[in-house]
């Protein structure tokens, strides 16, 4: 066999291995990334969805954050424009998770049958936009 055909064979093996690993990786570790309304719609259609671990990207409803510092439990509500549900989480939240308006979170966890989203991970980003910053400055100047 010519060296170039041997190389082609070796490459094919590597490429197939990469594709296989990627396929398996997606199958085993891929999780739904849903908005609150999508999640609520799916669970009402198919109750087994309560047991599926997934990710939710949503806004925190301002003023709903309750912290219990001694046990590090945090409860709050998230929503998009149409659906809303409470969230419970135990652990340390990042600095960006504050009571300020307009906090967006990406959470991993399950929406339990009790209607509460039990989060295992909470990431937050400050959603304050540039326009909001300008208003801020304007307030300061007046």
């Amino acid at each position: 066999m010519k060296a170039s055909s041997k190389f082609a064979l070796g490459s094919t093996v590597i490429v197939l291995a990469i594709v296989g690993l990627m396929y398996q990786g997606v199958k085993q570790t891929g999780v739904y990334f849903l908005s609150p309304s999508e999640l609520v719609a799916r669970t009402s259609q198919d109750p087994s969805f309560h047991d599926v671990g997934l990710k939710v990207g949503a806004k925190v409803v301002p003023g709903t954050i309750q912290r219990d510092p001694s046990s590090q439990r945090i409860a709050f509500r998230v929503s998009d424009s149409t659906a809303s549900f409470p969230v419970e989480y135990t652990g340390i939240v990042p600095d960006t998770f504050t009571d300020a308006n307009d906090i967006e979170v990406i959470m991993s966890g399950k929406l339990g049958r009790d209607g509460v989203f039990h989060a295992t991970e909470v990431l937050a980003k400050c959603g304050s936009r540039y326009e909001a910053e300008l208003e801020d400055l304007h307030k300061k100047s007046t």
Binding site: A3, S4, K6, F7, G10, S11, I14, V15, A17, I18, L21, M22, Q24, G25, V26, Q28, T29, G30, V31, Y32, F33, L34, E38, K55, G57, P69, S70, S71, Q72, G91, I92, P94, D95, T96, T98, A100, I106, L123, A124, K125, C126, G127, R129, Y130, E133, L134, D136, L137, H138, K140, S141
Partner: protein, 677 residues
């Protein structure tokens, strides 16, 4: 000053459009005056963009809060060095910074490139100017002009996001930008070579230092970014496969592939199309990274301002991609390889597999990063993949790459005989096996970790053998002592031995990453005097005792600091401090959300990493997260070694490259002296 800035942006925009149009339309052919004008245009552009940048810096240092950008990213109590770095803290300033670096690189390119490539230089000026014109276009017409004024003057600015108030953040973005931007130069030469139909190895020689430089900047930028994430973000790690991190890794991977595959083209005249494709691809990936981070199409915890600017980048990406690859396609018949692969036991084959694996990693990272968009487009549901996906795919590929790092230098060009293989592989392989055996003896049972560390031993064995043989050959030839021999060996063949040092640095990164598999975390809420215990993965127990909370005001912030007394197996290690900082403006109003300063008690074996998560009901009772992170220090050390190796390789001077096929195995010191790799 903003007027001057605006004026400069417009001037630069018009000059760059002119340069791009005249150059890329080949109007200058047969017109030496136009050709000269084109190669001088980048100098004028750099000058004008520098004036604009100085104008912005002047506004920042002068606290001219009437300038929107100054008011949005600085405050009057911000330390000077952060005023300096506020230049690239926001999107608008970043774009100007990008233009500044690009115009500077483009000018330097015209100045330092040898006149041997004078057929290419006017085209190079055209490509760099076209890219520059795009950035200026975004600033002038995309709503991202850093010189815009406000209709009112705030008494103080908003200040700089506290997470950016960190020395790492002063360095990380510019380094990464330097890396991204300097890819434009190899890209410009590739396009120039295609346009001029000068498709020999000339363009590759012209950009050798540039491609290495951009690779080095990307490496430094990524490493400093990891360090910043580690000391500033407080989640106990330095790499989370976040889309923004992935975006910086992608061009690094393809440039790594390119640095290796050009050697095949230099030596054997193969892979011409592949190399052009890699450079064009790397450039596109650097633009893609900007698009991903600025458009917000992918959910990332990095909170960049999202804006329509991202879509301008998407448009530019498509334009550059279609243009670049179409041009490559039209020159396809001119790019026939000059040789064929002769044997799988050859350095060419090792490099080919290395390229395949690197591009495979890049592809899987890109796929995983874009998967939410792809799955939504195909199946209507967003599905996201996380760190397990990336680890599952990339750990095996990483091990393959590590193995090839050891194999490449040991194996000869064209083909290697069996006795030769034996002579070359005996010691390195034994070192690798011995490493793994010793670790098993010490009780390590994690399969991947054993393979990673065993292969690390193999690569280090390879490098040591290369140095040993080179020094021994010099000793015989010139009667030199080992130390003198070592220094001269590197000096005579910087690219090769600098490259070996970089290989060792990569191995040390791998060792550091392997340590991450053994990390231990514990959370606890402690009253003053109470302690928490955490086991080190090496054995042994840390005990942390809460000593109390103190509050004080510093420079531009209110600090709440927790201190903990640390012992390891009863032996005192001193105290570790972790802080909550509330930044304030000059009127003592709080700005931004509070931020956490991590307490790290670092060491060669492991870091004790303490995060103060807050006090309980205003008492001194406080919550902590404690992590034991093995071998993290080695990741930063590897970064330093990589820079050192890179500088050796980049150092000016040294013999000119000779593209001659080599038959002797690379390690035969004597023969190799005459033919630098």
């Amino acid at each position: 000053m903003t007027l001057l800035g605006q004026f400069c942006l417009w001037t630069a925009f018009l000059i760059s459009i002119w340069t791009a149009v005249v150059s890329l339309s080949s109007r200058w052919k047969g017109r030496p005056d136009l050709g000269r004008a084109l190669t001088r245009a980048p100098l004028a552009l750099a000058l004008v963009v520098w004036v604009a940048s100085v104008a912005l810096w002047k506004g920042l240092f002068g606290h001219d809060f009437n300038i929107e950008y100054v008011a949005a990213y600085t405050s009057s109590n911000l330390p000077d060095y952060y005023l300096f770095s506020a230049f690239w803290a926001g999107q608008k300033g970043s774009l100007l910074f990008w233009a500044l670096v690009l115009s500077t690189f483009a000018a330097i390119t015209q100045l330092v490139t040898s006149s041997r490539y004078r057929d290419l230089l006017p085209y190079v000026a055209g490509v760099t100017s076209a890219v520059l014109a795009f950035f200026l276009f975004v600033m002038l017409f995309g709503g991202a002009n850093p010189f815009e004024r406000l209709p009112f003057t705030p008494p103080d600015g908003r200040g700089l996001n506290p997470q950016l108030q960190n020395p790492g953040m002063v360095m990380h973005p510019p380094m990464l930008y330097l890396g991204y931007i300097s890819i434009t130069i190899p890209f410009a030469f590739a396009i120039a070579a295609l346009l001029a139909r000068k498709l020999d190895t000339g363009w590759i020689h012209a950009i050798r230092k540039w491609s290495l430089l951009s690779w080095l900047f990307l490496s430094i930028g990524i490493t400093i970014g990891m360090w910043w994430a580690y000391v500033e973000l407080g989640w106990g790690g330095y790499w989370a496969w976040d889309p923004v991190e992935n975006a910086s890794l992608l061009p690094w991977l393809t440039m790594t592939a390119f640095l290796h595959s050009v050697m095949i083209q230099e030596k054997r005249g193969m892979l011409k199309r592949w190399n052009l494709g890699l450079v064009i691809g790397s450039f596109l990936l650097s633009i893609l990274g900007t698009f991903l981070t600025r458009s917000g199409v992918i959910a990332s915890v990095h909170s960049f301002a999202q804006s329509s600017v991202g879509y301008l980048f998407l448009g530019f990406l498509l334009l550059a991609g279609i243009g670049g690859f179409t041009l490559l396609y039209t020159r396809w018949p001119n790019l026939e390889p000059e040789a064929e692969l002769e044997s799988l036991a050859s350095r060419e084959a090792a490099f080919l597999f290395n390229n395949l694996a690197l591009v495979g990693v890049a592809f899987s990272v890109l796929w995983g990063t874009l998967f939410p968009i792809l799955s939504e487009a195909v199946r209507g549901t967003k599905i996201s993949v996380g760190p397990p996906f990336f680890n599952k795919v990339n750990v095996p590929l990483g091990l393959l790459l590590l193995a090839l790092t050891g194999v490449g230098p040991l194996i000869a060009w064209r083909k290697t005989s069996l006795p030769n293989l034996r002579r070359q592989f005996l010691w390195p392989l034994s070192t690798g096996l011995l490493t793994a055996a010793v670790l098993v003896g010490l009780g390590m049972r994690d399969g991947y970790a054993l393979m990673a560390l065993g292969l690390s031993g193999f690569v280090v064995g390879t490098v040591v053998q290369e140095f040993y043989r080179g020094i021994r050959a010099r000793g015989r030839l010139y009667q030199e002592g080992p130390l003198v021999g070592f220094v001269r060996l590197i000096g005579r063949n910087r690219r090769r031995y600098g490259g070996y040092l970089i290989h060792v640095a990569i191995v040390i990164y791998f060792v550091g990453f392997t340590g991450g598999a053994f990390k231990v975390t514990k959370e606890a809420t402690l009253s003053v005097g109470e302690s928490v215990e955490i086991e080190s993965p090496y054995g042994g127990t840390y005990q942390l005792t809460h000593m109390g909370i103190s509050q004080y005001e510093a420079l531009n912030r209110l600090v709440t600091a927790a201190s903990l007394e640390v012992t390891r197996n009863g032996k005192s290690l001193g105290r570790v401090f972790s802080e909550k900082r509330q930044h304030i403006d000059s009127f003592k109003n709080p700005t931004f959300q509070p931020s956490t300063e991590v307490g790290i008690l670092g060491g060669l074996r492991e870091d004790l990493y303490v995060v103060f998560a807050g006090t309980v009901d205003g008492t001194e009772r406080a919550s902590f997260a404690v992590t034991v992170n093995p071998l993290v220090w080695w990741v930063w050390f590897a970064g330093g070694l990589l820079v050192f190796g890179g500088l050796i390789t980049l150092w000016p001077g040294g013999p000119a490259p000779v593209p001659v096929p080599v038959r002797t195995p690379s390690a035969a010191g004597q023969a190799e002296q005459a033919v630098p790799a």
